[in-house]
Amino acid sequence: MAEVPESLARRTWLLTGLQASIGATVVAIFYPVIRFLWPRPATRSGAMEVVATFRVNELKADGEQWPARFTLDFDGKPCTVIRTPGGEIKAFNAVCTHTDCTVEYRPDKGDIFCNCHNGLYDLNGRNVSGPPPRPLELYKVTLRKQKETDPPGQEEIVISRSA
Protein backbone atom coordinates (compact mmCIF):
# COMPACT_ATOMS: atom_id res chain seq x y z
CA MET A 1 0.00 0.00 0.00
CA ALA A 2 1.53 3.31 -1.06
CA GLU A 3 2.11 5.85 1.69
CA VAL A 4 -0.12 8.89 1.55
CA PRO A 5 2.09 12.00 1.27
CA GLU A 6 1.79 14.35 4.25
CA SER A 7 0.42 17.28 2.24
CA LEU A 8 -2.39 15.10 0.87
CA ALA A 9 -3.33 13.84 4.32
CA ARG A 10 -3.38 17.43 5.61
CA ARG A 11 -5.50 18.46 2.67
CA THR A 12 -7.99 15.71 3.42
CA TRP A 13 -8.19 16.84 7.04
CA LEU A 14 -8.75 20.44 5.96
CA LEU A 15 -11.46 19.53 3.49
CA THR A 16 -13.17 17.23 5.96
CA GLY A 17 -12.96 20.00 8.54
CA LEU A 18 -14.47 22.45 6.07
CA GLN A 19 -17.32 20.07 5.24
CA ALA A 20 -17.97 19.44 8.92
CA SER A 21 -18.03 23.19 9.65
CA ILE A 22 -20.44 23.83 6.82
CA GLY A 23 -22.63 20.99 8.09
CA ALA A 24 -22.55 22.39 11.62
CA THR A 25 -23.46 25.86 10.32
CA VAL A 26 -26.36 24.48 8.33
CA VAL A 27 -27.67 22.69 11.43
CA ALA A 28 -27.18 25.84 13.51
CA ILE A 29 -29.30 27.76 11.01
CA PHE A 30 -31.95 25.13 10.40
CA TYR A 31 -32.57 24.20 14.03
CA PRO A 32 -34.02 27.59 15.08
CA VAL A 33 -35.91 27.86 11.78
CA ILE A 34 -37.55 24.45 12.20
CA ARG A 35 -38.45 25.22 15.82
CA PHE A 36 -39.81 28.59 14.68
CA LEU A 37 -42.08 27.01 12.07
CA TRP A 38 -43.93 24.64 14.39
CA PRO A 39 -46.41 26.48 16.65
CA ARG A 40 -46.06 25.82 20.32
CA PRO A 41 -48.76 23.34 21.41
CA ALA A 42 -51.22 25.01 23.76
CA THR A 43 -50.75 23.82 27.31
CA ARG A 44 -53.87 22.10 28.45
CA SER A 45 -54.80 21.32 32.02
CA GLY A 46 -56.00 17.77 32.77
CA ALA A 47 -59.10 18.78 34.61
CA MET A 48 -61.28 21.18 32.68
CA GLU A 49 -64.73 22.38 33.34
CA VAL A 50 -66.95 24.84 31.51
CA VAL A 51 -70.23 26.30 32.75
CA ALA A 52 -72.80 27.03 30.06
CA THR A 53 -74.21 30.55 29.81
CA PHE A 54 -77.74 29.14 29.57
CA ARG A 55 -79.80 27.21 32.13
CA VAL A 56 -81.54 23.86 31.79
CA ASN A 57 -84.99 25.31 31.22
CA GLU A 58 -83.67 27.32 28.26
CA LEU A 59 -82.81 24.20 26.29
CA LYS A 60 -85.58 24.26 23.70
CA ALA A 61 -85.63 23.73 19.97
CA ASP A 62 -86.46 26.54 17.57
CA GLY A 63 -88.82 24.66 15.24
CA GLU A 64 -86.64 22.09 13.48
CA GLN A 65 -83.41 23.91 14.36
CA TRP A 66 -81.34 23.54 17.45
CA PRO A 67 -80.27 27.13 18.34
CA ALA A 68 -76.63 27.92 17.59
CA ARG A 69 -76.06 29.45 21.02
CA PHE A 70 -76.22 25.99 22.58
CA THR A 71 -72.87 25.24 20.99
CA LEU A 72 -70.08 26.59 23.14
CA ASP A 73 -66.29 26.50 23.19
CA PHE A 74 -64.80 23.64 25.16
CA ASP A 75 -61.02 23.37 24.96
CA GLY A 76 -60.95 25.23 21.65
CA LYS A 77 -63.48 22.95 19.99
CA PRO A 78 -67.24 23.32 19.54
CA CYS A 79 -69.35 21.48 22.15
CA THR A 80 -73.11 21.13 21.63
CA VAL A 81 -75.45 20.76 24.61
CA ILE A 82 -78.70 18.97 23.77
CA ARG A 83 -81.94 17.92 25.37
CA THR A 84 -82.90 14.53 23.92
CA PRO A 85 -86.56 13.76 23.08
CA GLY A 86 -86.48 11.61 26.22
CA GLY A 87 -85.58 14.66 28.35
CA GLU A 88 -81.92 13.84 29.05
CA ILE A 89 -79.30 16.62 28.98
CA LYS A 90 -76.21 15.59 27.03
CA ALA A 91 -73.06 17.34 25.78
CA PHE A 92 -70.66 16.16 23.13
CA ASN A 93 -67.66 17.23 21.12
CA ALA A 94 -69.30 18.51 17.92
CA VAL A 95 -66.30 17.89 15.68
CA CYS A 96 -67.17 15.17 13.16
CA THR A 97 -64.70 12.28 13.31
CA HIS A 98 -64.60 12.15 9.50
CA THR A 99 -63.03 15.43 8.30
CA ASP A 100 -63.60 17.82 11.21
CA CYS A 101 -66.80 19.57 10.14
CA THR A 102 -69.10 20.73 12.94
CA VAL A 103 -72.08 18.39 13.32
CA GLU A 104 -75.71 19.41 13.90
CA TYR A 105 -78.30 18.12 16.38
CA ARG A 106 -81.64 17.48 14.69
CA PRO A 107 -84.24 17.62 17.50
CA ASP A 108 -87.12 16.58 15.21
CA LYS A 109 -85.32 13.48 13.95
CA GLY A 110 -83.57 12.69 17.25
CA ASP A 111 -80.14 12.28 15.68
CA ILE A 112 -76.91 14.13 15.00
CA PHE A 113 -76.08 14.85 11.36
CA CYS A 114 -72.98 16.04 9.55
CA ASN A 115 -73.77 18.27 6.55
CA CYS A 116 -70.44 17.82 4.86
CA HIS A 117 -70.66 14.17 3.82
CA ASN A 118 -73.99 13.01 5.29
CA GLY A 119 -72.52 11.33 8.35
CA LEU A 120 -75.09 10.23 10.93
CA TYR A 121 -74.70 9.72 14.69
CA ASP A 122 -77.20 8.60 17.33
CA LEU A 123 -77.79 10.47 20.57
CA ASN A 124 -75.14 8.36 22.30
CA GLY A 125 -72.62 9.70 19.83
CA ARG A 126 -72.27 6.39 18.01
CA ASN A 127 -71.52 6.68 14.29
CA VAL A 128 -74.44 4.80 12.77
CA SER A 129 -74.24 5.68 9.07
CA GLY A 130 -72.06 7.45 6.51
CA PRO A 131 -68.30 8.00 6.41
CA PRO A 132 -67.50 8.87 10.08
CA PRO A 133 -65.08 6.19 11.39
CA ARG A 134 -65.43 6.83 15.13
CA PRO A 135 -68.15 7.91 17.55
CA LEU A 136 -68.40 11.47 18.90
CA GLU A 137 -66.78 12.17 22.25
CA LEU A 138 -69.44 12.56 24.96
CA TYR A 139 -68.73 14.90 27.82
CA LYS A 140 -69.92 14.61 31.41
CA VAL A 141 -72.86 16.85 32.26
CA THR A 142 -73.51 17.90 35.86
CA LEU A 143 -76.58 19.90 36.77
CA ARG A 144 -75.78 22.17 39.67
CA LYS A 145 -78.33 24.06 41.75
CA GLN A 146 -77.20 27.59 42.57
CA LYS A 147 -79.34 27.67 45.69
CA GLU A 148 -81.03 24.76 47.44
CA THR A 149 -84.36 26.54 47.25
CA ASP A 150 -84.22 26.91 43.44
CA PRO A 151 -87.06 25.19 41.59
CA PRO A 152 -86.02 22.42 39.17
CA GLY A 153 -85.07 23.68 35.73
CA GLN A 154 -82.94 26.54 37.03
CA GLU A 155 -79.79 24.47 37.41
CA GLU A 156 -76.49 25.42 35.88
CA ILE A 157 -75.09 23.10 33.24
CA VAL A 158 -71.52 22.12 34.02
CA ILE A 159 -69.60 20.29 31.30
CA SER A 160 -66.40 18.40 31.98
CA ARG A 161 -64.40 15.59 30.48
CA SER A 162 -65.61 12.18 31.61
CA ALA A 163 -62.91 10.26 33.43
Binding site: V4, V33, R35, F36, R40
Partner: protein, 427 residues
Protein backbone atom coordinates in the same frame (compact mmCIF):
# COMPACT_ATOMS: atom_id res chain seq x y z
CA UNK B 1 -8.42 10.78 -3.39
CA UNK B 2 -12.12 10.09 -3.58
CA UNK B 3 -13.77 8.51 -0.61
CA UNK B 4 -17.25 6.90 -0.85
CA UNK B 5 -18.93 10.17 0.13
CA UNK B 6 -17.24 12.11 -2.66
CA UNK B 7 -18.13 9.25 -5.04
CA UNK B 8 -21.79 9.57 -4.08
CA UNK B 9 -21.71 13.36 -4.49
CA UNK B 10 -20.25 12.83 -7.96
CA UNK B 11 -23.07 10.45 -8.90
CA UNK B 12 -25.73 12.87 -7.65
CA UNK B 13 -24.09 15.71 -9.61
CA UNK B 14 -24.06 13.75 -12.86
CA UNK B 15 -27.69 12.69 -12.32
CA UNK B 16 -28.78 16.33 -12.40
CA UNK B 17 -26.20 17.47 -14.93
CA UNK B 18 -27.31 14.89 -17.51
CA UNK B 19 -30.91 16.03 -17.26
CA UNK B 20 -30.73 19.78 -16.56
CA UNK B 21 -27.94 20.85 -18.89
CA UNK B 22 -25.84 22.12 -16.03
CA UNK B 23 -22.68 21.97 -18.15
CA UNK B 24 -23.49 25.40 -19.60
CA UNK B 25 -23.71 26.90 -16.13
CA UNK B 26 -20.52 25.12 -15.22
CA UNK B 27 -18.75 26.64 -18.24
CA UNK B 28 -19.91 30.14 -17.30
CA UNK B 29 -18.83 29.62 -13.73
CA UNK B 30 -15.41 28.37 -14.78
CA UNK B 31 -14.89 31.34 -17.09
CA UNK B 32 -15.56 33.99 -14.44
CA UNK B 33 -12.43 35.48 -12.98
CA UNK B 34 -11.87 38.30 -10.49
CA UNK B 35 -8.97 40.73 -11.03
CA UNK B 36 -6.47 41.21 -8.21
CA UNK B 37 -5.24 44.69 -7.43
CA UNK B 38 -5.05 47.19 -4.60
CA UNK B 39 -8.79 47.85 -4.45
CA UNK B 40 -9.93 44.27 -5.08
CA UNK B 41 -11.37 44.24 -1.56
CA UNK B 42 -14.22 46.40 -2.79
CA UNK B 43 -15.40 43.55 -5.00
CA UNK B 44 -16.81 41.80 -1.94
CA UNK B 45 -19.42 44.44 -1.25
CA UNK B 46 -21.85 43.52 -4.01
CA UNK B 47 -21.92 39.86 -2.94
CA UNK B 48 -22.31 40.88 0.69
CA UNK B 49 -25.34 42.98 -0.23
CA UNK B 50 -26.80 40.02 -2.11
CA UNK B 51 -26.22 37.76 0.90
CA UNK B 52 -27.87 40.18 3.30
CA UNK B 53 -30.81 40.51 0.90
CA UNK B 54 -31.10 36.71 0.95
CA UNK B 55 -31.20 36.85 4.75
CA UNK B 56 -33.98 39.42 4.51
CA UNK B 57 -36.03 37.23 2.19
CA UNK B 58 -35.69 34.15 4.41
CA UNK B 59 -36.34 35.90 7.73
CA UNK B 60 -39.08 37.96 6.10
CA UNK B 61 -40.91 34.87 4.85
CA UNK B 62 -40.64 33.30 8.31
CA UNK B 63 -42.00 36.43 9.96
CA UNK B 64 -44.88 36.56 7.50
CA UNK B 65 -46.04 33.20 8.88
CA UNK B 66 -46.91 34.86 12.19
CA UNK B 67 -47.37 38.57 11.47
CA UNK B 68 -50.91 39.89 11.13
CA UNK B 69 -51.23 43.08 9.04
CA UNK B 70 -54.11 44.92 10.70
CA UNK B 71 -53.90 47.82 13.19
CA UNK B 72 -55.66 45.76 15.90
CA UNK B 73 -53.43 42.74 15.51
CA UNK B 74 -50.09 43.91 14.11
CA UNK B 75 -48.46 45.01 17.36
CA UNK B 76 -49.78 41.98 19.23
CA UNK B 77 -48.51 39.59 16.57
CA UNK B 78 -45.01 41.12 16.74
CA UNK B 79 -45.15 40.84 20.54
CA UNK B 80 -46.07 37.18 20.18
CA UNK B 81 -43.18 36.65 17.76
CA UNK B 82 -40.74 38.25 20.20
CA UNK B 83 -42.00 36.48 23.32
CA UNK B 84 -43.91 33.31 22.47
CA UNK B 85 -42.82 31.88 19.15
CA UNK B 86 -39.74 29.65 19.43
CA UNK B 87 -36.69 31.66 18.28
CA UNK B 88 -39.06 34.38 17.12
CA UNK B 89 -36.85 36.95 18.83
CA UNK B 90 -33.91 35.72 16.76
CA UNK B 91 -35.70 35.82 13.42
CA UNK B 92 -37.19 39.25 14.02
CA UNK B 93 -34.05 40.87 15.41
CA UNK B 94 -31.93 39.42 12.60
CA UNK B 95 -34.43 40.82 10.10
CA UNK B 96 -34.26 44.32 11.60
CA UNK B 97 -30.48 44.34 12.06
CA UNK B 98 -29.82 42.88 8.64
CA UNK B 99 -31.95 45.62 7.07
CA UNK B 100 -29.69 48.25 8.61
CA UNK B 101 -26.51 46.40 7.71
CA UNK B 102 -27.76 45.99 4.16
CA UNK B 103 -28.30 49.71 3.66
CA UNK B 104 -24.85 50.37 5.09
CA UNK B 105 -23.26 47.86 2.70
CA UNK B 106 -25.20 49.34 -0.22
CA UNK B 107 -23.92 52.82 0.66
CA UNK B 108 -20.35 51.47 0.68
CA UNK B 109 -20.96 49.60 -2.56
CA UNK B 110 -22.18 52.84 -4.16
CA UNK B 111 -19.20 54.76 -2.84
CA UNK B 112 -16.60 52.22 -3.95
CA UNK B 113 -18.04 51.76 -7.45
CA UNK B 114 -17.96 55.54 -7.77
CA UNK B 115 -14.36 55.67 -6.59
CA UNK B 116 -13.34 52.90 -8.97
CA UNK B 117 -15.31 54.50 -11.78
CA UNK B 118 -16.89 51.13 -12.43
CA UNK B 119 -19.78 52.89 -14.18
CA UNK B 120 -17.77 53.82 -17.27
CA UNK B 121 -18.76 52.46 -20.64
CA UNK B 122 -20.14 49.78 -21.14
CA UNK B 123 -21.35 49.50 -17.54
CA UNK B 124 -23.67 52.52 -17.38
CA UNK B 125 -26.80 50.39 -17.01
CA UNK B 126 -25.23 48.47 -14.18
CA UNK B 127 -24.92 51.80 -12.37
CA UNK B 128 -28.47 52.86 -13.27
CA UNK B 129 -30.02 49.61 -12.05
CA UNK B 130 -27.81 49.84 -8.98
CA UNK B 131 -29.05 53.30 -8.00
CA UNK B 132 -32.60 52.14 -8.65
CA UNK B 133 -31.98 49.17 -6.36
CA UNK B 134 -30.71 51.49 -3.63
CA UNK B 135 -33.93 53.50 -3.84
CA UNK B 136 -35.94 50.28 -3.72
CA UNK B 137 -34.10 49.01 -0.67
CA UNK B 138 -34.72 52.28 1.11
CA UNK B 139 -38.39 51.87 0.20
CA UNK B 140 -38.18 48.36 1.70
CA UNK B 141 -36.84 49.91 4.88
CA UNK B 142 -39.49 52.62 4.97
CA UNK B 143 -42.41 50.26 4.34
CA UNK B 144 -41.16 47.59 6.71
CA UNK B 145 -40.68 50.14 9.46
CA UNK B 146 -44.45 50.73 9.73
CA UNK B 147 -45.41 47.08 10.11
CA UNK B 148 -44.93 46.65 13.89
CA UNK B 149 -47.49 49.49 14.32
CA UNK B 150 -45.77 50.91 17.39
CA UNK B 151 -45.51 54.60 18.29
CA UNK B 152 -42.21 55.06 16.53
CA UNK B 153 -43.38 53.32 13.37
CA UNK B 154 -46.68 55.15 13.14
CA UNK B 155 -45.31 58.64 13.58
CA UNK B 156 -42.20 58.06 11.49
CA UNK B 157 -44.53 57.04 8.65
CA UNK B 158 -46.80 60.02 9.25
CA UNK B 159 -43.86 62.42 9.02
CA UNK B 160 -42.21 60.59 6.14
CA UNK B 161 -45.34 60.59 3.98
CA UNK B 162 -46.01 64.23 4.91
CA UNK B 163 -42.59 65.12 3.50
CA UNK B 164 -43.53 63.38 0.26
CA UNK B 165 -46.58 65.60 0.21
CA UNK B 166 -44.31 68.65 0.19
CA UNK B 167 -43.27 68.11 -3.42
CA UNK B 168 -44.91 70.86 -5.46
CA UNK B 169 -47.80 70.00 -7.79
CA UNK B 170 -47.71 66.20 -7.49
CA UNK B 171 -46.92 65.93 -3.79
CA UNK B 172 -50.51 65.77 -2.60
CA UNK B 173 -51.27 62.95 -5.03
CA UNK B 174 -48.23 60.98 -3.92
CA UNK B 175 -49.25 61.46 -0.32
CA UNK B 176 -52.73 60.07 -0.99
CA UNK B 177 -51.20 57.18 -2.91
CA UNK B 178 -48.69 56.36 -0.18
CA UNK B 179 -51.08 56.70 2.74
CA UNK B 180 -54.04 55.17 0.90
CA UNK B 181 -56.03 58.16 2.12
CA UNK B 182 -55.53 61.44 3.93
CA UNK B 183 -54.22 59.91 7.12
CA UNK B 184 -52.10 56.97 8.20
CA UNK B 185 -54.63 54.23 8.95
CA UNK B 186 -55.17 50.51 8.58
CA UNK B 187 -55.42 51.16 4.85
CA UNK B 188 -51.88 52.50 4.94
CA UNK B 189 -50.73 49.43 6.80
CA UNK B 190 -52.31 47.12 4.22
CA UNK B 191 -50.73 49.09 1.40
CA UNK B 192 -47.28 49.16 3.01
CA UNK B 193 -47.53 45.44 3.75
CA UNK B 194 -48.33 44.66 0.13
CA UNK B 195 -45.51 46.94 -0.96
CA UNK B 196 -43.04 45.33 1.42
CA UNK B 197 -44.00 41.70 0.81
CA UNK B 198 -45.21 41.54 -2.81
CA UNK B 199 -44.56 44.58 -4.97
CA UNK B 200 -41.04 45.50 -3.91
CA UNK B 201 -39.79 41.89 -3.82
CA UNK B 202 -41.08 41.23 -7.35
CA UNK B 203 -39.64 44.49 -8.66
CA UNK B 204 -36.36 43.88 -6.84
CA UNK B 205 -35.98 40.40 -8.30
CA UNK B 206 -36.51 41.86 -11.77
CA UNK B 207 -34.08 44.79 -11.41
CA UNK B 208 -31.55 42.72 -9.48
CA UNK B 209 -31.76 40.10 -12.20
CA UNK B 210 -30.80 42.70 -14.80
CA UNK B 211 -28.07 44.09 -12.55
CA UNK B 212 -26.50 40.67 -11.96
CA UNK B 213 -26.83 39.68 -15.61
CA UNK B 214 -24.96 42.82 -16.61
CA UNK B 215 -22.23 42.12 -14.07
CA UNK B 216 -21.77 38.62 -15.49
CA UNK B 217 -21.88 39.88 -19.07
CA UNK B 218 -19.33 42.65 -18.65
CA UNK B 219 -17.18 40.98 -16.02
CA UNK B 220 -15.61 42.77 -13.08
CA UNK B 221 -14.63 46.35 -13.79
CA UNK B 222 -10.93 47.15 -13.36
CA UNK B 223 -9.83 50.69 -12.47
CA UNK B 224 -8.24 52.46 -15.44
CA UNK B 225 -4.93 53.00 -13.72
CA UNK B 226 -4.53 49.29 -13.03
CA UNK B 227 -5.34 48.45 -16.66
CA UNK B 228 -2.71 50.89 -17.86
CA UNK B 229 -0.12 49.65 -15.40
CA UNK B 230 -0.40 46.08 -16.69
CA UNK B 231 -0.89 47.10 -20.31
CA UNK B 232 -4.34 45.66 -20.94
CA UNK B 233 -7.33 44.15 -19.17
CA UNK B 234 -6.36 40.57 -19.94
CA UNK B 235 -2.90 41.11 -18.53
CA UNK B 236 -4.15 42.01 -15.07
CA UNK B 237 -3.57 39.11 -12.64
CA UNK B 238 -6.80 37.43 -11.58
CA UNK B 239 -8.20 34.53 -9.61
CA UNK B 240 -11.00 32.16 -10.61
CA UNK B 241 -14.35 33.08 -9.14
CA UNK B 242 -15.13 29.45 -8.41
CA UNK B 243 -13.81 28.35 -5.96
CA UNK B 244 -11.22 30.96 -4.94
CA UNK B 245 -13.17 34.21 -4.79
CA UNK B 246 -16.41 32.49 -3.84
CA UNK B 247 -14.83 30.88 -0.79
CA UNK B 248 -13.45 34.26 0.26
CA UNK B 249 -16.95 35.69 -0.29
CA UNK B 250 -18.36 32.96 1.94
CA UNK B 251 -15.93 33.79 4.72
CA UNK B 252 -17.32 37.31 4.68
CA UNK B 253 -20.87 35.97 4.68
CA UNK B 254 -20.08 33.70 7.60
CA UNK B 255 -18.73 36.63 9.59
CA UNK B 256 -21.81 38.68 8.70
CA UNK B 257 -24.09 35.85 9.83
CA UNK B 258 -22.26 35.58 13.13
CA UNK B 259 -22.42 39.33 13.56
CA UNK B 260 -26.17 39.33 12.95
CA UNK B 261 -26.73 36.53 15.46
CA UNK B 262 -24.61 38.38 18.04
CA UNK B 263 -26.47 41.63 17.43
CA UNK B 264 -29.82 39.84 17.69
CA UNK B 265 -28.82 38.24 20.97
CA UNK B 266 -27.12 41.24 22.59
CA UNK B 267 -29.25 44.06 21.16
CA UNK B 268 -32.67 42.58 20.39
CA UNK B 269 -34.92 44.88 18.43
CA UNK B 270 -37.32 46.77 20.63
CA UNK B 271 -41.06 46.20 20.65
CA UNK B 272 -42.00 49.72 21.69
CA UNK B 273 -45.53 50.77 22.58
CA UNK B 274 -48.62 50.18 20.53
CA UNK B 275 -49.41 53.13 18.28
CA UNK B 276 -51.93 55.69 19.54
CA UNK B 277 -52.82 57.56 16.33
CA UNK B 278 -54.80 60.30 18.05
CA UNK B 279 -52.15 61.07 20.65
CA UNK B 280 -48.98 63.10 20.34
CA UNK B 281 -45.83 61.45 19.06
CA UNK B 282 -43.25 60.45 21.64
CA UNK B 283 -40.40 62.97 22.08
CA UNK B 284 -37.30 62.41 19.98
CA UNK B 285 -39.24 60.80 17.13
CA UNK B 286 -37.04 60.18 14.11
CA UNK B 287 -36.73 57.83 11.15
CA UNK B 288 -34.13 55.12 10.67
CA UNK B 289 -30.52 56.34 10.54
CA UNK B 290 -30.30 56.13 6.74
CA UNK B 291 -33.03 58.74 6.38
CA UNK B 292 -31.58 61.02 9.04
CA UNK B 293 -29.43 63.13 6.72
CA UNK B 294 -32.53 64.21 4.82
CA UNK B 295 -34.64 64.48 7.98
CA UNK B 296 -32.08 66.69 9.74
CA UNK B 297 -31.71 68.96 6.74
CA UNK B 298 -35.45 69.39 6.47
CA UNK B 299 -35.64 70.16 10.19
CA UNK B 300 -32.95 72.81 9.85
CA UNK B 301 -34.44 74.57 6.84
CA UNK B 302 -36.47 77.66 7.74
CA UNK B 303 -40.23 77.54 7.30
CA UNK B 304 -40.07 80.38 4.88
CA UNK B 305 -37.11 81.98 3.24
CA UNK B 306 -36.35 85.63 3.94
CA UNK B 307 -37.41 87.72 1.01
CA UNK B 308 -38.96 84.72 -0.69
CA UNK B 309 -41.95 84.34 1.61
CA UNK B 310 -43.74 82.20 -0.93
CA UNK B 311 -41.02 79.54 -0.82
CA UNK B 312 -41.47 76.91 1.86
CA UNK B 313 -38.27 75.55 3.35
CA UNK B 314 -39.60 72.02 3.16
CA UNK B 315 -40.23 72.32 -0.58
CA UNK B 316 -36.70 73.60 -1.17
CA UNK B 317 -35.32 70.67 0.83
CA UNK B 318 -37.33 68.05 -1.02
CA UNK B 319 -36.43 69.53 -4.39
CA UNK B 320 -32.77 69.76 -3.40
CA UNK B 321 -32.65 66.07 -2.51
CA UNK B 322 -34.54 65.21 -5.68
CA UNK B 323 -31.82 66.93 -7.66
CA UNK B 324 -29.14 65.12 -5.64
CA UNK B 325 -30.67 61.73 -6.43
CA UNK B 326 -30.86 62.70 -10.10
CA UNK B 327 -27.18 63.67 -10.11
CA UNK B 328 -26.23 60.36 -8.48
CA UNK B 329 -28.32 58.48 -11.02
CA UNK B 330 -26.71 60.27 -13.96
CA UNK B 331 -23.08 60.05 -12.81
CA UNK B 332 -21.98 57.85 -15.75
CA UNK B 333 -23.24 60.51 -18.16
CA UNK B 334 -21.75 63.38 -16.14
CA UNK B 335 -18.38 61.68 -16.40
CA UNK B 336 -18.35 60.57 -20.03
CA UNK B 337 -14.59 60.76 -20.42
CA UNK B 338 -13.99 58.16 -17.72
CA UNK B 339 -12.95 55.59 -20.29
CA UNK B 340 -10.06 57.73 -21.42
CA UNK B 341 -9.02 58.18 -17.83
CA UNK B 342 -9.64 61.93 -17.71
CA UNK B 343 -9.95 63.20 -14.17
CA UNK B 344 -13.36 64.28 -12.96
CA UNK B 345 -12.37 67.08 -10.61
CA UNK B 346 -15.74 68.73 -10.06
CA UNK B 347 -17.58 65.47 -9.47
CA UNK B 348 -14.92 64.28 -7.02
CA UNK B 349 -15.06 67.49 -4.99
CA UNK B 350 -18.86 67.33 -4.94
CA UNK B 351 -18.87 63.65 -4.03
CA UNK B 352 -16.39 64.11 -1.18
CA UNK B 353 -18.35 67.09 0.13
CA UNK B 354 -21.59 65.05 -0.10
CA UNK B 355 -20.09 62.12 1.85
CA UNK B 356 -18.87 64.40 4.65
CA UNK B 357 -22.19 66.26 4.75
CA UNK B 358 -24.01 62.92 4.91
CA UNK B 359 -21.85 61.80 7.84
CA UNK B 360 -22.24 65.10 9.69
CA UNK B 361 -25.99 65.36 9.23
CA UNK B 362 -26.49 61.72 10.23
CA UNK B 363 -24.35 62.27 13.33
CA UNK B 364 -26.31 65.41 14.12
CA UNK B 365 -29.56 63.51 13.70
CA UNK B 366 -28.38 60.78 16.04
CA UNK B 367 -27.46 63.40 18.61
CA UNK B 368 -23.80 62.42 18.46
CA UNK B 369 -22.76 65.98 17.55
CA UNK B 370 -24.36 69.38 17.91
CA UNK B 371 -23.93 71.93 15.15
CA UNK B 372 -24.07 74.95 17.45
CA UNK B 373 -20.66 76.51 16.94
CA UNK B 374 -21.70 78.99 14.29
CA UNK B 375 -24.78 80.17 16.14
CA UNK B 376 -22.97 80.52 19.47
CA UNK B 377 -20.05 82.35 17.79
CA UNK B 378 -22.44 84.88 16.29
CA UNK B 379 -24.03 85.32 19.73
CA UNK B 380 -20.60 85.93 21.26
CA UNK B 381 -19.84 88.51 18.57
CA UNK B 382 -23.08 90.27 19.45
CA UNK B 383 -24.50 89.72 15.96
CA UNK B 384 -27.26 87.44 17.13
CA UNK B 385 -29.86 87.74 19.85
CA UNK B 386 -29.29 84.99 22.47
CA UNK B 387 -33.04 84.78 23.14
CA UNK B 388 -33.89 81.08 22.60
CA UNK B 389 -37.01 81.77 20.56
CA UNK B 390 -35.09 84.03 18.19
CA UNK B 391 -32.23 81.52 18.08
CA UNK B 392 -34.68 78.81 17.13
CA UNK B 393 -35.62 80.62 13.95
CA UNK B 394 -31.93 80.56 13.05
CA UNK B 395 -31.87 76.76 12.93
CA UNK B 396 -30.59 77.05 9.41
CA UNK B 397 -27.27 78.21 10.85
CA UNK B 398 -26.75 74.57 11.81
CA UNK B 399 -27.25 73.65 8.17
CA UNK B 400 -24.72 76.29 7.09
CA UNK B 401 -22.34 75.00 9.73
CA UNK B 402 -22.71 71.42 8.46
CA UNK B 403 -22.00 72.66 4.94
CA UNK B 404 -18.91 74.58 6.11
CA UNK B 405 -17.49 71.70 8.15
CA UNK B 406 -18.05 69.37 5.20
CA UNK B 407 -16.29 71.81 2.89
CA UNK B 408 -13.34 72.09 5.30
CA UNK B 409 -13.12 68.31 5.61
CA UNK B 410 -13.32 67.97 1.84
CA UNK B 411 -10.45 70.37 1.28
CA UNK B 412 -8.34 68.65 3.92
CA UNK B 413 -9.16 65.23 2.54
CA UNK B 414 -8.51 66.00 -1.11
CA UNK B 415 -5.23 67.79 -0.47
CA UNK B 416 -4.20 65.02 1.90
CA UNK B 417 -5.12 62.47 -0.71
CA UNK B 418 -3.07 64.30 -3.32
CA UNK B 419 -0.06 64.70 -1.12
CA UNK B 420 0.29 61.35 0.53
CA UNK B 421 -0.85 58.74 -1.94
CA UNK B 422 -0.09 57.84 -5.46
CA UNK B 423 -3.62 57.68 -6.73
CA UNK B 424 -2.88 55.99 -10.00
CA UNK B 425 -5.76 53.58 -9.65
CA UNK B 426 -8.31 56.27 -8.88
CA UNK B 427 -8.55 59.58 -10.68
Amino acid sequence: MRGPFAEWIGRVKSFFADRLGLEDLQKLADKKRVPIHRTSLFYFLGGMALFLFGIQVVTGVLLSLYYKPSPDQAFESVRAIMTEVEYGWLIRSVHSWSANLLIGVLALHLLTTYVMRAYRKPREFTWLTGVLLLAMFMAFGFSGYLLPWNQLAFFATKVGTAIVGAVPLVGKHFLLLARSGENVTGDTLARFYSLHVVILPLATFAVLGVHLYLVQKHGMSIPQGVVERFGGEDKVPSMPFVPHFLLRDMVGWYVALGLLAALAALFPWELGEKATPLGAPPPGIQPEWYFLFMFETLKQLPGRFFGFGWLEGEVVGVLFFGVCWLVVLLVPFLDPRAVQGHPRRLLNWLATWAVFAFILQTASGLGAIRLKLLASSLVQLGLLDPDPTILDSYRWLALVEAALWSAAATIAFRFGVRKWTVRESMQ
